[in-house]
């Protein structure tokens, strides 16, 4: 990066050119006070706090060189007026004076002006202690007020701007950071200013008010206590808090955050800076969705079924019962009669231990990390195979990068990606947003492509075809199987016919393909809608990335938005019936969730161990199966519907009650620390698993011993000793003292995870420059915490530097249903029936069940918002109230996927369900 040399308060140093004076001075350790300026927002220069003296060298017009004084120093021409440091870019030789009498007079003047309309209620203000206005006033504000009027602005306070954010208008200093964040960064222009002059004030008139999934960030960047969150207001003084670094597991982004604790209670959640993941932001789900931790309905002791009741038991009793039952079933029916499901929000250590218990102790490969509902789709290997390569950092991408988003709704599936993709687009990246329906991302500044219902595969193939046409037969960086066959079969299809089938013009497809192909970095992001179209689409997207040369390297490849905070970890670590950790295929596929339910019902699977999932709540077949099973263990935070059917319920500690690592959508492994002691007697999942494992080992030692002594007539022999020794050796393998030790084993054994230990993760350093730093309270306080736990390590994609090769198969396209006209989409919602939202303010924002209908279809069938309709599929029917929305095209209806007490399972027939619609008369 080109640099220029500047002089700030007499000290000369180089800074990157183009930096603003404020940021440049900071490089040299000089703090220029700011209020409206924020490093992540465009400068506006409106608060006037950063006024400084600025001069530039006088240039000789003839030589374009600086003119020198008799001493040979450049002659500096100071500008007659003070300049705002936040809006002025530095230039070569610039002289900046921040501490002259003139500058200080102006800065103090601005401070005094601000205080004329600011209440001095610091003692009861949530921002007190981390407020730049307070800090500056303490440092050099006037001691007494010359403003001897009793009319600091008075407003009713506080005003709820929405469910989550309250506005104290008296405290607002009108820097407009919040408005600009919402407009420019979040793309939710829901804040504005009413009135003008000194009556200017922040308003929100969206419906519902402050309708944004990013609202909490405004409380961070508000430089005073004007915006506070309902979740934290008046709870604690910030200096009493201790900040514990954790990783959010509520979606696959894996944002870095802190849990700010007072004693052992969670007071608030704040962002922790990680430029490669969440910069300094959090979505509201992450920020406000962690109240489940302290919810009164948390399980605190193990429970054992006595008749139709679950009664409290000791850990010893409960674990022993589990071990005995499982051992008995295993010895009677073999390991294949036992199946286990573990939630994709558990840590890598939990998941690894869980599958290890199954595979090594119980000799069962019947594993999964989903409940096997239709919406869960297939195991996503492509996102690891061609995942964005090691070293990917979206924050550094802009011009030169093309991102193709297919069938995803990041706002709901992985909210932070909205901010990140918008920011990339603002830095010049090309965004191509393709999907069946309109989403927030359509307004992120990219090209929007709308393929027709059932046209997604044709769309992807058309892109592939266009890429083949453009790129010809150049050599690929990744190893592939079946390339020729694929090439041939795609070239057999004409672009025109593919475009026609996709419903997107051939020219548009060619342009998109060209943009993708010609970019230096190419990323494809796909989400629930795309995955719901079946594996053929995702495979085609993979082929597209590979053939366009956008795979197997940093900043290129695929990002799969899977549901669950650690789905990628679960896939990586073999929580699936068809592969061991590290995507090592098993010789014979065992049972996955879908098959497990059938097998349990038929009695082939007798024991179920379900950790952190609640299949009984939404999947009728699962409920039947669980009821039919001989023995069911549930390990969870709450007494879920599934737990209520269990024989043994084991209370698990939540993610923030222990250390652990998680793997995000970009396959970055990050370390999360324990923020608080485990609730009640709950234990980390890996510990529970290990407890049972040890008992099983013990039993098998005894069993082996008993068997030996039985054959030897009770006399101890040498051979029996050997058997005991073997068993003891295995026992040692279940001797993890800390999750770090589990992680060490993962690092040792799981392909791809080499070197990913807790120590190495902690050593990955701090990230970004804008986190809160000691003595910088004056400056950007309240934006985010500095990362002290390392920023994580990214795994290489499987195709990178390994022997794996990409299988390019051609699958037939699915046929749409003939008799039912409408495609039913299961809408992923950020605020849905997830139990983790329990106790949070977000619960109020979980909608009532509804069916979203396009305006065209509503008009055609004469249906109005609020009408009841029945949808019918080959599998069943469902009655629900209608919302008419503009985001859907004709021919598509959508229903939230996972609302409490409302399940689509009864109507879904497969990844794509076709339905018809009947309006019910009132």
């Amino acid at each position: 990066m080109p640099t220029v040399t500047i002089t700030v308060d007499g000290v000369t140093f180089p800074v990157p050119s183009g930096t603003t004076v404020v940021d440049a001075a900071r490089v040299g350790g000089v703090d220029i006070p700011v209020f409206c300026y924020h490093p992540k927002l465009k400068p506006v220069g409106m608060c006037r706090m950063c006024l400084v003296e600025i001069g530039t060298p006088r240039i000789d017009p003839a030589t374009r060189q600086p003119l020198l004084d008799p001493e040979g120093k450049p002659i500096i021409v100071m500008m007659p007026k003070l300049q705002t440091g936040c809006t002025t870019p530095v230039s070569q030789g610039m002289v900046i004076k921040t501490a002259t009498a003139k500058a200080k007079f102006a800065q103090k003047g601005v401070l005094e002006f601000l205080l004329t309309s600011h209440p001095l209620d610091c003692p009861v203000c949530d921002k007190g202690g981390e407020c730049p206005l307070q800090n500056l006033t303490m440092e050099w504000g006037p001691e007494t007020s010359r403003f001897d009027y009793d009319d600091k602005v008075h407003f009713e306070k506080p005003i709820p701007l929405g469910d989550l954010i309250l506005l104290d208008r008296e405290r607002c200093i009108l820097c407009s950071r919040c408005v600009r964040f919402q407009d420019d960064l979040a793309g939710d222009p829901v804040l504005g200013c009413d009135n003008r002059g000194r009556k200017w004030m922040i308003i929100s008139k969206s419906e519902p008010p402050f309708d944004s999934k990013f609202s909490g960030n405004t409380t961070d960047i508000c430089p005073v206590g004007a915006l506070t969150s309902a979740d934290f207001r008046f709870k604690a003084r910030v200096w009493e808090l201790s900040s514990k670094p954790v990783v959010c597991t509520l979606c696959p982004v894996g944002c870095n955050m802190t849990h700010d604790m007072r004693h052992d209670k969670l007071m608030r959640v704040m962002a922790r800076e990680n430029s490669a993941v969440n910069e300094i932001w959090l979505c509201d789900k992450g920020r406000y969705g962690h109240r489940f931790v302290e919810h009164e309905t948390r399980l605190t002791t193990p429970l054992i079924r006595k008749g139709d009741r679950l009664v409290e038991a000791t850990w010893d009793e409960a674990l022993r019962l589990v071990a005995d039952k499982l051992a008995a079933i295993q010895s009677a029916h073999g390991g294949q009669a036992i199946a286990g499901l573990a939630a994709p929000r558990l840590s890598n250590e939990d998941l690894y231990a869980f599958q290890k218990l199954f595979r090594e102790q119980l000799e069962s490969g019947n594993l999964d990390h989903t409940i096997g509902s239709v919406s869960d789709g297939d195991y996503d290997d492509m996102g690891a195979m061609l995942g964005v390569g090691q070293g990917t950092n979206l924050e550094q991408l802009g011009a030169g990068t093309t991102v193709l988003v297919v069938g995803a709704d990041p706002e709901e599936e992985a909210p932070l990606y909205v901010l990140r993709l918008r920011a990339m687009a603002q830095r010049g990246a090309k965004l191509i947003v393709a999907g069946l329906r309109s989403t927030k991302l359509d307004h992120a500044g990219g090209t929007v492509l709308r393929y027709k219902v059932g046209g997604e595969l044709a769309f992807a193939r058309a892109l592939l075809r266009a890429v083949l046409d453009e790129a010809g037969t150049r050599r690929l960086a990744v190893k592939t199987n079946g390339l020729e066959q694929l090439r041939k079969s795609i070239l057999d299809l004409s672009l025109a016919s593919l475009a026609e089938a996709a419903g997107v013009s051939a020219a548009t497809i060619q342009a998109a393909a060209k943009t993708f192909l010609e970019a230096e970095n190419g990323i494809i992001i796909y989400g629930a809608e795309a995955r719901g179209a079946g594996p053929a689409l995702v495979e085609t997207l993979g082929a597209l990335a590979a053939l366009a040369g956008k795979a197997g390297k940093a900043n290129s490849g695929l990002i799969a938005l899977l549901s669950g905070g650690n789905s990628r970890g679960a896939l990586d670590l073999g929580l699936r019936p068809d592969a061991r950790p590290g995507y090592v295929p098993v010789a014979q596929r065992a049972l996955g969730a879908r098959e497990i339910w059938g097998a349990a019902k038929e009695g082939r699977v007798k024991a179920l161990w379900i950790a952190g999932l609640d299949p009984a709540a939404s999947l009728p077949v699962a409920r039947t199966a669980i009821e039919a099973a001989e023995f069911v263990v549930v390990q969870d935070l709450f007494l879920t519907e599934t737990a209520q059917l269990a024989d043994v319920v084991l209370p698990a500690a939540s993610g923030v009650e222990r250390d652990g690592t998680y793997t995000n959508a970009e396959r970055r492994v990050q370390r999360s620390r324990q923020a608080q002691p485990a609730v009640g007697q709950s234990r980390p999942d890996w510990q529970i698993v290990q407890g049972v494992a040890r008992l099983l080992v013990e039993q098998s030692v005894k069993r082996v011993g008993a068997a030996k002594s039985a054959t030897n007539g009770g006399k101890a022999t040498k051979g029996a000793n050997t058997a005991v020794a073997v068993a003891v050796a295995e026992l040692v393998a279940w001797d993890f003292l800390t999750p770090a030790e589990v992680a060490a084993e993962i690092a040792e054994r799981v392909p791809g995870y080499q070197g990913i230990t807790h120590q190495s993760l902690a050593a990955t350093g701090t990230s970004g420059t804008w986190g809160r730093q000691i003595n910088e309270a004056v400056f950007y306080d309240g934006t985010s915490y500095t990362n002290t736990e390392g920023v994580g390590l990214q795994l290489p994609s499987l195709i990178e530097g390994s022997k794996t090769s990409l299988n390019l198969v051609v699958r037939p396209a699915a046929k749409p249903s003939e008799e039912r006209p409408l495609l039913l989409l299961a809408l992923p919602l950020a605020y849905d029936g997830d139990l983790l939202l329990r106790g949070s303010l977000l619960e109020r924002q979980v909608p009532q069940p509804y069916l979203a209908l396009s305006r065209a279809d509503a008009e055609r069938q004469n249906i109005k918002a609020g009408d009841s309709v029945r949808i019918e599929s080959a599998a069943g029917q469902l009655t629900v109230a209608v919302r008419v929305v503009k985001e859907l095209p004709a021919g598509v209806v959508a229903v939230p996927a996972n609302l409490p007490g409302f399940s689509l399972a009864g109507v879904q027939t497969g990844p794509r369900t076709w339905v018809s619609l009947v309006k019910l008369l009132a």
Partner: protein
């Protein structure tokens, strides 16, 4: 020193000139029609440059020079005619539009052609609702006669012209706030650079000129730079439509060559007709509310940009407010700053808070009639902290009235404070009559 023929107030020579037919018969639209056929845009810009036409919106910036700032080859471009006219005391745009609208429109059209803009908006302050209708009718006439629209007079040049009404906000006269308002937003000024000529309306190159400025263009193009320069002074060529108001016998708009003495404007029976009721002149504000005050001592000042600046004030919009001895300086400062407080957009701190505070103190002194010992110091403190520190010139302008009042009439403040039972030290050793030096704070484009 009157004019034999008026330039922008031509209705004084031709009373029915606001009728399209009459305007046409008098040769109206000929300059434009001829220019389309015979002149290139560059030639027109050159004539305007040579004529030395200076912007009448306040800054007096040379119009032709401003037009020359447009980046080469970047289109579309826009011409915005600034008819926000809201500065207290300024009312000549209002009259030009009511009485001589076709010439103004022809000026807009000619200037659009000169800068190669295909769309022109006339931004009217919201209160000019009736005048907006006059203009709309006049624009209709021009469309019907083929002077606007597509391929005008077969020249290949297209021009659309629209009237856009603001809705009550002085700040929208500031050129960047005007563009924001025209884009349908609240009218707050934008950060400069980029300047409008580079990135203005909808981010495209844009030229903004005042009504009076543009109304001069047709005659300049028709009769040439030399003719234009035969009026006014060397550095302030042409005529100016002075808006004379206050305690004079004949308040009104008077078009006079630049350089006319202030006294003549006030006293001549043809113009101001002297002071009402024969009371003495006390304060003269020669360029709208933003101009530092002058007093009777300055009656011999010539009304051109340079002379008024030399006298310590500025010609600004050419609004001359003349007030007699019944007006108390603290009260005038109070009224003026109340205006700025009312119109402060709220964007920047010094203007938003400073004006409020100023008016608080001034209200106590001027309206309630009592003061605190430190009031004068406080007032000075407030305005020195505003001066030079605001985002735009509105806040800077608000400094002028109070600064002038304290410099020229400190004893009036002191008297109020003394009458409230406080001792007073003289604040600046009798500076009565010494004008406040004008700060040249107008930016590049004003």
């Amino acid at each position: 020193m009157g004019l034999s023929e008026y330039i922008v107030m031509r209705e004084l020579n031709h009373p029915a000139i606001n009728n399209f037919e009459v305007y046409r018969r008098l040769g109206g639209w000929d300059a434009y029609a001829n220019a389309l056929k015979t002149k290139t845009p560059t030639e027109i810009i050159q004539v305007v440059k040579d004529a030395g036409l200076r912007g009448r919106g306040g800054a007096g910036f040379p119009t032709g020079v401003k037009w020359g700032f447009l980046p080469r080859g970047v289109f579309p471009r826009y011409l915005l005619c600034n008819c926000d006219e809201s500065e207290p005391g300024t009312f000549n745009n209002h009259q030009i539009i009511d009485r001589n609208p076709h010439q103004m429109i022809e000026g807009v059209a000619l200037s659009s052609f000169a800068i190669e803009a295909n769309t022109a908006y006339i931004y009217m302050r919201g209160e000019f609702a009736g005048a907006a209708l006059t203009l709309e009718r006049a624009i209709d006439d021009a469309y019907k006669a083929g002077f606007l629209g597509k391929n005008i007079l077969g020249s290949g040049y297209d021009l659309d012209m629209y009237v856009h009404r603001g809705a009550g906000a002085y700040i929208c006269g500031e050129e960047t706030a005007l563009m924001e308002s025209l884009e349908g937003k609240i009218g707050q000024p934008r950060l400069k650079p980029p300047f409008p000529a580079v990135a203005g309306l909808y981010g495209k190159p844009t030229i903004i000129n005042n009504v009076e400025t543009l109304a001069n263009v047709p005659l300049i193009v028709e009769r040439g730079a030399a003719w234009y320069r035969s009026h006014g002074t060397e550095k302030s060529p042409g005529t100016k439509c002075f808006s004379l108001s206050g305690h004079v016998n004949r308040p009104g708009n008077y078009e006079l060559p630049f350089g006319v003495p202030l006294r003549e404007l006030i006293d001549s029976p043809e113009y101001g007709g002297g002071m009402r009721g024969d009371r003495p002149v006390k304060i003269i504000i020669p360029g709208g509310a933003s101009a530092p005050w002058l007093t009777a001592e300055h009656l011999d000042t010539l009304l051109d940009y340079e002379s008024v600046a030399a006298a310590g004030s500025m010609l600004g919009s050419g609004a001359v407010i003349v007030l007699n001895d019944t007006v108390k300086a603290p009260h005038l400062a109070y009224k003026m700053d109340e205006f700025f407080k009312h119109e402060s957009c709220g964007k920047c701190t010094p203007c938003r808070e400073g004006n409020h505070w100023l008016v608080k103190v001034l209200h106590r002194l001027a309206a309630e009639g009592h003061g605190e010992p430190d009031d004068i110091k406080t007032l000075k403190g407030i305005y020195t902290q505003m001066e030079g520190n605001c985002f735009c010139l509105l806040g800077e302008s608000a400094v002028m009235p109070i600064k002038s009042a304290l410099h020229l009439f400190p004893e009036e403040f002191e008297a109020i404070i003394a009458a409230s039972g406080h001792d007073i030290e003289s604040i600046n050793g009798r500076s009565v009559g010494v004008p406040v030096p004008m700060k040249r704070t107008r930016g590049r484009f004003g």
